[in-house]
């Protein structure tokens, strides 16, 4: 059916209404000079209206033969006017077909575009003007009808073309999206296989030891990176329905610019850094997310500096409703008591101070807990959602 369907239905309605209108005109005129001929013409019009309505509904039948036949029928009925109205016809009277002759013009426009609409309008107008030829005089001949016909043919043709183009583009967008989804699905399977192999190499490498252990470690690092990529990639089954054609406006134009904290922090995940988050996104204002990500980055730098490159770290993201809590823990030796205060007294801005600064700017709090199990930095910020 496609986008043309509604146009054809509208034209069918127009045809039927026009036939009724023509019949009413014939009745009110008392049948003009030759009522029998008049009703025969109306009958032909009604018959063709039925045929055309059925024929145009079939996409396979639409084409030049039908369009030409449609136009010829309309012009034929139009040219029958003198035989119905006779010499009684006064200048300015509607022909017997009334508005019905516009139907093929609309059909040409819808099916073949605005040029075809203009051509068919010209043909019908020519027939109309020829009818009035005996007393041809620009002052009395209503050019209105011709102008309206042209406008109808061209405007409808143009609109139909636009609609068809839009439909084609939509169709393409749908196809592209489907192809993208399929690619994503295939990629998931491949990624999974690669992950399996990497995990296996890592595991066996560690067991064999020596150089194989080094290979295993490299495989493990790549495995963590790929796992993160797979996880943070688009997941159509959970994502809210995406628009087929992306909006022009950039996302930053939204009333409140939001981001998912979990998603942003997962990029820190690696073989040595574990990120634990809720399954649901933790949505916060983008600036808050950026500051938290930077603060966590500072904390991880700190871990690397004080506990060595082999230290492990854990990041926990919690959504406590009005507050979001991010905890960074390491398994290093912990901070010696008084070390923080000492650093501050010496006027040095330790990394923990810069973390505290960032979080305080967001209206949040930082608590640092040091134990033999390692150091825990807990950052709690208001979620700040209006």
């Amino acid at each position: 059916m496609g986008i043309e369907g509604p146009f054809w239905r509208a034209i069918a309605v127009f045809r039927i209404a026009s036939v009724v209108y023509a019949a009413v005109l014939l009745l009110r005129a008392g049948g003009y000079a030759h009522p029998v001929t008049g009703w025969i013409v109306i009958g032909v019009m009604a018959f063709w209206t039925g045929i055309a309505t059925l024929a145009y509904a079939q996409p396979g039948v639409r084409g030049w033969p039908l369009l030409v036949l449609d136009l010829l029928t309309a012009v034929g009925c139009l040219l029958a006017t003198p035989y119905v109205q006779g010499s009684l016809a006064t200048p300015g009277t509607m022909p017997i077909t009334a508005t019905w002759v516009a139907a093929p013009v609309l059909a040409w426009g819808v099916h073949k575009g605005r040029r075809a609409g203009a051509v068919s309008a010209a043909l019908v107008s020519a027939a109309d003007l020829w009818l009035r030829a005996p007393g041809f005089d620009l002052a009395t001949v209503p050019v209105n009808g011709a102008v309206l016909l042209f406008m109808a043919g061209v405007v409808i043709g143009h609109v139909a073309q636009l609609a068809k183009q839009a439909e084609a583009r939509m169709q393409r967008a749908v196809e592209i999206e489907a192809a993208g989804r399929e690619r994503e699905r295939l990629a998931r399977g491949i990624h999974d296989s690669v992950l399996q192999v990497l995990a296996l190499v890592q595991r066996r490498g560690a067991e064999i030891g020596g150089e194989a252990a080094e290979l295993g470690r490299l495989a493990g690092e790549q495995e963590a990176v790929l796992r993160e990529l797979v996880r943070s990639g688009p997941r159509p089954e959970r994502a809210p329905r995406r628009r087929l054609i992306p909006a022009r406006r950039p996302a930053s134009a939204a009333p409140q610019d939001l981001a998912d904290l979990s998603d942003a922090l997962r990029r820190y995940g690696s073989a040595r850094v574990t990120v634990a988050t809720p399954a649901e996104p933790v949505t916060l204002p983008r600036r808050t997310v950026e500051e938290l990500v930077a603060a966590v980055g500072n904390a991880l730098d700190n871990v690397r500096r004080h506990c060595g490159p082999r230290a492990r770290a854990w990041i926990l993201v919690e959504d406590a409703g009005e507050r979001a809590i991010v905890t960074v823990r390491d398994d290093g030796p912990g901070i010696p008591e008084g070390r923080l205060a000492e650093a501050a007294a010496e006027g040095r801005l330790g990394v923990s101070q810069s973390i505290q600064g960032r979080i305080a700017d967001l209206g949040g709090t930082v608590s640092i807990l040091s134990s033999p199990d390692g150091t825990e930095i807990e950052m709690s910020v208001p979620s700040g959602l209006s």
Binding site: R188, G189, H191, D192, S193, L195, Q196, V197, L198, A199, L200, Q202, R203, R204, A206, E207, G220, E223, A224, R227, V230, R231, R235, R238, A271, T274, V275, A276, T277, P278, A279, E280, R312, A313, W314, L316, V317, E318, D319, A320, G321, T327, R329, D331, S371, D373, E376
Partner: protein
């Protein structure tokens, strides 16, 4: 042992056999896994979530609903968050990423076989989030506002999510190792129970709706 990757299946099966476990069946397909499980009644199923024919979550659900539900240890390569949470809610009692070492894996199998919950920090984070989500959503019925964690359970779960071992948690909270284990186990049992109740309620509502209609 359910895993579509032959290399893994063999490797893991070998590890388990060496550790003294009896492998009753291995398969790479979910539907087959359910059929085999019904026939051979394994005590423990090691389940990969990414299977070619049936989502691993469905397999976990099917195993949980069987007459003799086996314990299920989920082993996943990609760590798909939602899948892991769903599998655990459906009855799996342990979860491990495939990059875990052989010792970690064998330890996880042993603990799962003993009926203990095996949590990674990642899974603890998911479970914490799930309880918060359940607490935050509007109550479906006045008498049931969903499962709640006790303060102690929340505390323990947070420590697990921060990567502390059960031993470290026990030391920090001055509890026995067993008690920590029980707390973790409880968080999971409550969630699974809630999930089953929800399923039954859903089924009843559907049934009643059908009768009405």
């Amino acid at each position: 042992m359910v895993d579509d990757h032959p290399m893994w299946r063999e490797g893991v099966a070998r590890d388990l056999a060496e550790a003294g476990y009896e492998i009753v069946a291995t398969t790479g397909e979910g539907r087959q896994a359910l059929r085999i499980a019904a026939a051979v009644r394994p005590e423990l199923v090691v389940l990969d979530l990414q299977l070619p024919d049936l989502p691993g979550v469905e397999v976990a659900r099917g195993l949980g609903a069987s007459e003799h539900p086996p314990r299920v240890l989920v082993l996943s390569a990609s760590g798909e968050q939602d899948d892991v949470l769903e599998a655990v809610k459906a009855g799996a009692s342990g979860y491990l990423v495939k990059s875990a070492s052989r010792e970690e894996f064998l330890d996880a199998v042993k603990r799962t076989a003993d009926g203990d919950a095996v949590f990674t920090p990642g899974l603890a984070g998911l479970v914490l989030g799930e309880y918060r989500r359940l607490a935050a959503r509007p109550a479906t019925t006045p008498e049931d506002d969903g499962p709640r964690l006790t303060d102690r359970e929340t505390e323990v779960l947070r420590l697990v999510a921060k990567g502390l071992s059960y031993r470290q948690i026990a030391e920090r909270l001055v509890l026995s190792h067993r008690t920590v284990q029980n707390h973790v186990q409880n968080t999971l049992s409550k969630l699974q129970l809630h999930n089953r109740v929800e399923l039954v309620r859903y089924a009843i509502e559907k049934g009643l709706a059908d009768l009405d209609g």
